[in-house]
Symmetry: C2
C-alpha cells in the first residue's frame, strides 16, 4: 500500500507527523509513503531517524493551510499547500491508495470532496470515528460532524458505509447497526430519524433499530447512525463527560490522606482506564464516501497516534473499503426496486 501523508497539518507538525510517518514505516514492511509539504523541512526532520528511504517519496508543497482560514477558499487558493497536493496526488496517481491529514476537519473535507471527489453514488461523505466501549469492542459513529443538516437518504448511506468500514477494517462479518434516537421503540424519533428508520428496516443489513444515547458505548452495537450535528454532540458529550468523571475521581482521591494512600496502590489501574477511554489512540476518523481512502487524523495527534492513522488508512485500502462501499450502496437500489 502507498499512502499520501500531509506533513503540515495538525498542532504538532512537522515534528510529530514526520516521526509518525517513520514509525508507521517501521511497523509495516509493505507500506510506502508519499510525504507532502516543504521538502527541505521534511528532509531535515527525516534525517533524525533511520528508516527505509526506498519506501519514502517527498513531494514539495511549501504552502500551509491554517485553521483560521475558510476551508473552501483555502483549498481553491493554496494550490501548493501540503493538503491540496496530497489530495491531487491521491486523485491522479493510481499507485497511491489513500491519504492521511491532521489538518482542520473543514479543510480535509473540502480537499477530499473537491479535489479527490465522491465515490460514485455517494450523496454525502461522512466522518466516522471509532469509539471505545464497555465491552472492549469498538463502535463506529457515522456521521460525527461532516453533515449538520441531513436528509433520511443520507442516514441510510451513512449506515451502509459504516457497515463496509467495520467489515473491511475490523473484520466484523455482519455489523450491528443502530439509529441514534430518543427511545428504543420503533416509533420514537424526530421526523428525520423516523423516515430513516423505515428505510433502514427495509435494507438487507443487520439493523437492530433505535438506540438511546445512554447505550452508545455499551458495546452492543458496531455502527451508530446519526446526522452530523447529533453525532457530534454525542461524540463531544462522551469525551467531555469521561474527562469530567476522571477529574472528579482525581479530586475525590486528593481530598483525603486515606484516599491518597489508596491511590498509590491504584495508579496503574486508573491510568489504564484513561488509556482505554482515549479515542485519540484509535487513530483518526475515516472520511467515508470519498473515491479513495481518506483518514482525518486528530489535530492534536502526536507521532504515535499519527502512525496509527497511517496504518489505518493502509488497512482500509487493503480491506477493499471503497469497492465494498459501492457494493453496499447498491443495496439501496435493490431495496428500492423490490419496493417498486
Amino acid at each position: 500500500m502507498k499512502i499520501a501523508v500531509d506533513i503540515f497539518g495538525g498542532d504538532h507538525s512537522p515534528v510529530e507527523t514526520v516521526k509518525g510517518a517513520v514509525l508507521a514505516l517501521g511497523a509495516d514492511k509493505d507500506l510506502k509513503l508519499v510525504l507532502t509539504g516543504d521538502k527541505g523541512v521534511i528532509e531535515s526532520e527525516l534525517k533524525k531517524y533511520s528508516y527505509d528511504a526506498a519506501r519514502v517519496e517527498t513531494v514539495d508543497a511549501p504552502e500551509v493551510i491554517s485553521c483560521d482560514e475558510s476551508p473552501t477558499s483555502a483549498i481553491r487558493v493554496k494550490k501548493n499547500s501540503s493538503l491540496v497536493v496530497a489530495c491531487e496526488l491521491l486523485k491522479s496517481r493510481d499507485d497511491i491508495d489513500g491519504m492521511v491529514s491532521a489538518g482542520s476537519t473543514g479543510a480535509v473535507l473540502a480537499g477530499s470532496i473537491f479535489k479527490v471527489g465522491r465515490l460514485k453514488g455517494v450523496q454525502r461523505p461522512a466522518l466516522a470515528p471509532v469509539l471505545p466501549t464497555l465491552k472492549g469492542s469498538d463502535v463506529c459513529l457515522v456521521d460525527c460532524g461532516a453533515n449538520v443538516d441531513c436528509k433520511p437518504e443520507y442516514l441510510v448511506q451513512f449506515a451502509l458505509m459504516g457497515v463496509s468500514y467495520m467489515r473491511a477494517v475490523y473484520g466484523i462479518v455482519n455489523p450491528r447497526v443502530a439509529l441514534v434516537s430518543v427511545g428504543v421503540e420503533d416509533e420514537k424519533g424526530n421526523e428525520l430519524t423516523k423516515e430513516a428508520f423505515a428505510r433502514l428496516k427495509a435494507l438487507d443489513i443487520n439493523f437492530v433499530g433505535n438506540m438511546e444515547a445512554r447505550d452508545a458505548l455499551t458495546g452492543d452495537y458496531d455502527v451508530l447512525v446519526a446526522d452530523g450535528f447529533v453525532g457530534n454532540v454525542l461524540l463531544k458529550t462522551a469525551e467531555g463527560t469521561a474527562k469530567m468523571v476522571m477529574k472528579l475521581v482525581k479530586n475525590a482521591v486528593m481530598s483525603s490522606t486515606l484516599s491518597k494512600i489508596g491511590a498509590l496502590f491504584m495508579k496503574k489501574s486508573l491510568r489504564k482506564v484513561k488509556d482505554d477511554m482515549d479515542y485519540n489512540k484509535k487513530g483518526g476518523a475515516p472520511l467515508l464516501g470519498i473515491d479513495k481512502v481518506v483518514v482525518k487524523a486528530h489535530g492534536s495527534s502526536n507521532a504515535e497516534s499519527f502512525a496509527v492513522a497511517i496504518a489505518q488508512a493502509a488497512k482500509m485500502a487493503e480491506g477493499g473499503l471503497t469497492a465494498d462501499i459501492k457494493n453496499e450502496l447498491a443495496k439501496v437500489v435493490a431495496s428500492d426496486n423490490a419496493q417498486a
Copy 2:
C-alpha cells in the same frame, strides 16, 4: 405552598411516593399536599408514618396510567387516573400551586398540556432537567426531549424559560445561556441553530454564544439550549458515559490485589463521585411553559428523590416562576419591535 402529588406514577409507587410525600412535609413546615390515587391504599400507606395530617388532603382517583399506554389516549380515557385528577385539581383550584408526578414522561407532558394548559404566549413547553457540573454548580438543559422537532423560535423560548427557572429556583441573577452546537464560532451550527443563534443574540439576556457539547458540564454555563432530540442525546450520553467510566474504574480496581487494597482506602471518595454525578438526586425535571408549576420526577424515584422533586415544585411556585417566564417571553416581543 400547596402541591398536588400523583401518588400512582413511577416504578416504586405507592410505597416510595407516599413516603416521599411524608418526607417533604417533614422538611417544610409551610408545605401542604394534595395526594391523588386510590384513597384506601394511600391512607393505609400513610398510617406507617407520623406526620402532620392537617397539611394532607387525599383525593380518590383509582385508575392508573401505565407506561405501555399511548399517553394522549390514556389522558383522554382514564379520567379517574391519579395523574389526570392531579392535573385537573391543579387547573381548577386556585389554592394549588404546583404538581409532581413520576409517571411516564409522555403522560405527564400530555396531561400538563391538555388538562392544565400552556402558559399564555408559550409555543412549546419544555423539559429542563438540571445537571451537575465539574465546578459543583448546576446547569439546566432545555429541552431534553419534549420537542424532538423544533423551530428557531421554540429554542428562543427555551432559553428564556431556562433563564427564569435558574433565577427563580437557583437565585442566579443573570444566568449564562449557551446554545448547544458543533463549534464555538458564531457561524457554526445547523440551519436550526444558526437561525436561533441570530435571534438569541438580539435578546436582552446573557447569551454567551455557541458551545461544544464537550463543555456542557464544565460549569461555565447556567442554561444550555437545544432542540429536544439533541438535548436528549446530550443528557443520555452524559449519563451513559459517566456510568461507563465508573464501571471501568471499578473493573480496573478489581483487576489487581494492589488496586483492591487501594480501593479500601478510597471507598468513601469514590462513592462521593458517584453521588455528585447522580442527577436523580437533583429532584425531577421541571416542565417549563405550563400555566402552573409541573415537575416530572424520575420514574425510578425513591422516597428521597421524590421528596426533593416536591420541594422543588414548591420552590418554583414560591419563586414566582410562571410570572417570571411571562416577563421573559415579553422580551421577544420587545426585541421584535426594536428590529421592526
